[in-house]
């Protein structure tokens, strides 16, 4: 079971890490996962996943401010099984809280890659869609889905928590329907995503895939 290395193709070759450091990181490529062979199980699993959305507590941009009210008495996202998690390992939902600067993008990629699938990305606000008001900024990425697969967009600037709640419910629906395959998408188009990412992130200095 421990030898179940998915892929030995080297992800560290072009990472710019020194040889010494390369030993310290896993060099495996990620692999896509199949749905459970039994449809009922898969549906049940998707239901469970949909009703237990653990959001990574990582406010990447100004939209993160709108995440906080979700947990308050007024919106109480707990009702839908939404909860915050401090560690990406345990989280299943990554909410991109608005614009992603190049610097943050690097962190976002790392954190995303550290999450375990199935994992879902919600892009919050207009900025991840087209850059929003920062469309011509030198250090804000305009089309976020060039870098990570997005499962759900919630547009607006800023989108109010109500919209967020609606978006979460929408996400739940999509998950239950088995339509949220962002994680697999990322794996399947790994090279494309990586090249996009590396285009903007100049000081890469990390393995290609942060296990």
């Amino acid at each position: 079971m421990f030898k179940k290395t998915l892929n030995t193709e080297d992800t560290l070759k072009n990472s710019g890490l020194t040889d010494e450091e390369q030993q310290l990181f896993s060099n495996a490529r990620p692999q896509a996962y199949e749905p459970y062979p039994i449809k009922a199980v898969e549906d049940f699993a998707n239901w469970a996943r949909a009703n237990s959305l653990w959001i990574l507590a990582f406010g990447t941009g100004c939209g993160a401010i709108e995440l906080r009210p979700l947990m308050t008495a007024r919106f109480d996202a707990n009702r839908f099984g939404v909860a915050g998690r401090p560690t990406p390992r345990q989280s299943s939902v990554f909410v991109i809280g608005g614009y992603a600067s190049v610097k943050t993008l690097k962190r976002i990629i790392r954190s995303y890659e550290q999450m375990q699938g199935p994992k879902f990305v919600i892009a919050l606000g207009i900025c991840p869609v087209n850059g929003g008001m920062y469309f011509d900024s030198y250090n804000t990425v305009n089309q976020f889905d060039q870098y990570l697969p997005v499962d759900l967009y919630i547009t607006g600037c800023m989108p109010r928590p109500e919209v967020l709640v609606a978006g979460i419910m929408e996400l739940q629906k999509k998950i239950k329907a088995g339509e949220c395959n962002g994680a697999n998408l990322y794996v399947e188009n790994f090279d494309w995503y990586k090249s996009n990412q590396k285009k903007v992130i100049k000081n890469w200095d990390m393995p290609d895939y942060n296990w």
């Binding site: 237990s52 653990w54 109480d76 707990n78 560690t87 345990q90 299943s92 375990q116 199935p118």
Partner: protein, 312 residues
Amino acid sequence: MIVEGLGGWLSKVGNFSLTLLIVTTYGLLMGAFIERIIAKVQGRIGIPYRQPFINILKNFFKRTAISHGVMFYLGPVFRIAGGIGTLAFVPVIYGDEMFSNFSMAGDLFLVIYFMFFGQLGMALGAGESGHPYSAIGIARGLSQMTAYEIPFALAVISIVIQYDTLSITQIVAAQQGGWQNWTVVTNWVATLAAMLAFLGMMGYSPFDIFLAPQEIPIGPPTEFHSAYLGLMQLNRALFGATKLVLFMNLFFGGATGWVELMIKTFLIYMVAIVIGVAFPRFRVDQGIRFFFKIPTLIGIMSIIYVQMVLTS
């Protein structure tokens, strides 16, 4: 409690599995219930009752995982083995052979020592993850444990003197016959000390520094996810409930039926919750010092109390 033959043992195992199921379920439900109560206090609705189950299921339904090594893999196993084992050695329902579990294998002392089993294994698993936060969390948790162990040990010694036995069943038996026989009444000093220790044991605020979700992403389990996390969540419910049962048995007269058990354990649990929502978090050295002061003093007094008042 004499178990004979393979059939006897098998039925014993079966009965225990049932107990395990009930206690785990109850633990999960109670967790949800407590969450809801807190939510109500905050003016929210809170999670649905099924939420803990869903969380665990979801974790088991994860499709990818990483492994840092054998100990990392075994850590959660140790953890839940600790929970299951602890439950196995605690008689759950007084006077009911079916739910006395394997309490004939050992006494209170065994239970107390076996509680460490899971913690140690978990600590090793977390250690192999290589995450410094895990190590920090464990260091804090273990330190705190040594601190609350003192009042707890004193209280336990006090009631062992009082009831002249280490057998949990007999301790419960001695408390039968009405609330006035409960340890909380007859030996309130020891109970007080033990309940203070209990706060530390449950890991709620003000003694939750070792988890510290914001500064050291939840401490020891930082690296755990997927099925590992599922097991740990199961254990949290199970182990929490077991500890409650143990406290109930020792200090609150035990239970003769499931309902009584649920009411009592719930109330005991509420103590920790109420204090937890009311007080901010202690820094770890403050927490340790706290336990070395008043609770220890109360613990000492409890033994003196037993020797001076109860046995003379």
